[in-house]
Symmetry: C2
Subunit: 337 residues, 2 copies
DNA sequence: CCTCGATGTTGAAACGTTTTAACGCCTGAG
DNA sequence: CTCAGGCGTTAAAACGTTTCAACATCGAGG
């Protein structure tokens, strides 16, 4: 490997001073065209690559933001990430993605590393409420898909209570009076909020609270949805719910699969509502009714908030989006031809 | 914001020299327990966070590797990334994910940035063959899911020709003689290889080459699969293929959805084989026959190769895994009860 | 002819770590 | 009493940039 060619090698090779090379790199307009060409040629010739560590050390700035994502395997988060990246790149920033995989140990390690890297800012969907506290260490942090309870930072979230309410109200309007909610663990704020919304929907409709059966899952992944489906089918027909509201689409897809495998039809035997409206929800063979969140916009807004963070008169803001019900075949009584 | 507390502030506060603080950070065993405690206390008290830029500038090392992923929204790649991350973290390295989103401009920018960051190594699934060349700049690079043609770097790949052969042979064995292959663009090596495998399967079975209709798509995403489905159904019944081999599962899922919407049954009217065996393939309402690749292992091996890259006697290696056909309902003639 | 401002370029001082060689101190052996 | 060697600590020199004040050079305006 080359003994690393530095800015002074370039300078020498081009017959100028290091300062000029630096100027070519950072303020090309300030240096005379002829000199600039000469320097660029030298850079090319020597294969110079700017050492970002040194730059950052001296300049203090870093051109990189990071998004610590809760579950990189969940398309919801990759969509949010896309929004983040679009906004970041418009501002000339690059995005590093870190996957905490719902593990608060990993999350902590990544946060520590990112602080040490002096990234310009951190977006995070934290594993739980406490871990959200930990983050403050000088680097601006914005919470994504979680609401900041204190006023110490910005957050961008979606109204999950409303989302749950929309979903279950829709089921009730379709005549369902025995409804299951599938989701968990309850340590996740989203799950709690969505359940609260579901309960509110019952109340609004004058239904008793036991119209809702809560099936708790260990995680929000497909396999857990399948497992919940088996539990559901195991119930005696008289008590079995006629509709299920899943805390996210992964669960709903698992549930859907489980139904089909066990010979039950959706929506005829069981109506299913998911949450997030990921692309695979629409692409499922029984297209899934789901609660859509503005995923890209969530990410985009979070990034924009983050980037205003060290402007002079910055006030921490809490943006909250409204979810929206998207009705598809998995809940419509009449099948499409 | 704090005026950033440095190692010398800590040193002063603990009544030792900076070198000792540095030792506490990097070789804790070399410093006397009493002193160490004092230093740690000072660090805690002042809220000191090591400046990684400075560390890296001086030490030359970086504790970070990066994976430039082709499409973060494709679960195949997030699974590969999981493997990478597991291997990385076993070696005490952190992983930064960058999403090129199949855009060679983005890819180039990220590569440049990563080189500037002096990351310890780069894994990449390049957008195309040429962009793979660009990468060499001093930082070790390992190709993931692509075979390096020259001997200048390691690569980890899966035998895509064999995969295509497996898929189409399976269809032929099930009696299909008019088969569509859906995939594209052809600039992607994988698509070409899988098609080559498909052709080989025809040849092996003594079928004419025009038994295979190639439907080229613009990308490997769900929407394109849907679109291809419409094209397929539009064909006159006499010429319409009875089976489709899709270059990846996203296409297959789109195709599947399109079939159902248009009132065609899978596999009765059209058998479908996907590629990658992502989790959603098994979770589809008509579970998808697919060609499985060892996703986590692909990532894991790539990371391990990368980490041996600057050991003294390193030889560039090209690892190639075998794919495996997973048969499910989307191609089995008899439906499960 | 002098001054002035504009335009380009530069020398040298940071930035916050790690690292190396040297240092003082102490202990135990000779 | 000396000396070797181990131990813990330190002063100072890097690492490769950016930045700032200062310095040439030159053409124009007085």
């Amino acid at each position: 490997m080359k003994p690393s060619v530095g800015i002074r090698d370039v300078a020498q090779h081009a017959g100028v001073s290091n300062a000029t090379v630096s100027n070519v790199l950072n303020r090309p307009d300030v240096v005379a065209p002829a000199t600039r060409q000469r320097v660029l040629a030298a850079i090319e010739e020597l294969g110079f690559v700017r050492n970002e560590s040194a730059r950052q050390l001296r300049a203090g700035r870093s051109r990189v933001i990071a998004y610590v994502v809760l579950d990189a395997a969940n398309p919801f988060f990759t969509d949010v990430a896309r929004g983040v990246e679009d906004a970041a790149r418009e501002a000339g920033m690059a995005l590093f993605l870190c996957n905490s995989a719902s593990d608060d140990g990993r999350e902590r390690e990544y946060l520590e590393l990112l602080h040490e890297q002096r990234v310009e800012g951190i977006l995070i969907t934290p594993v739980d409420a406490e871990s959200a506290q930990v983050a403050e260490r000088g680097t601006p942090v914005v919470l994504v898909d979680r609401e900041a309870t204190d006023g110490t930072r910005c957050s961008v979230a979606v109204d999950d209570v409303l989302g749950g309410e929309l979903a279950v109200t829709h089921l009730i309007e379709n005549g369902h009076t025995r409804i299951a909610m599938v989701g968990g663990p309850l340590s996740i704020q989203q799950v709690r909020d969505r359940r609260e919304g579901a309960v509110r929907a019952l109340t609004n409709a004058g239904l008793p609270l036991d119209a809702l059966t809560f099936l708790e899952t260990k995680s929000l992944q497909v396999a857990e949805g399948r497992e919940a489906g088996e539990r559901l089918v195991g119930l005696p027909a008289s008590r079995r719910p006629t509709a299920a509201f899943c805390a996210n689409d992964l669960l709903a897809l698992g549930l859907l699969q489980s139904m089909t495998q066990q010979g039950l039809r959706v929506p005829d035997d069981l109506a299913v509502v998911g949450y997030d409206d990921i692309e695979f929800a629409a692409a499922a063979a029984v297209p899934l009714t789901s609660v859509r969140q503005p995923r890209e916009q969530l990410g985009r807004t979070a990034a924009q908030l983050l980037l205003t963070e060290n402007e002079p008169g910055h006030e921490h803001r809490h943006v909250k989006f409204q979810p929206e019900l998207v009705v598809r075949a998995s809940t419509s009584v009449k099948r499409r031809p």
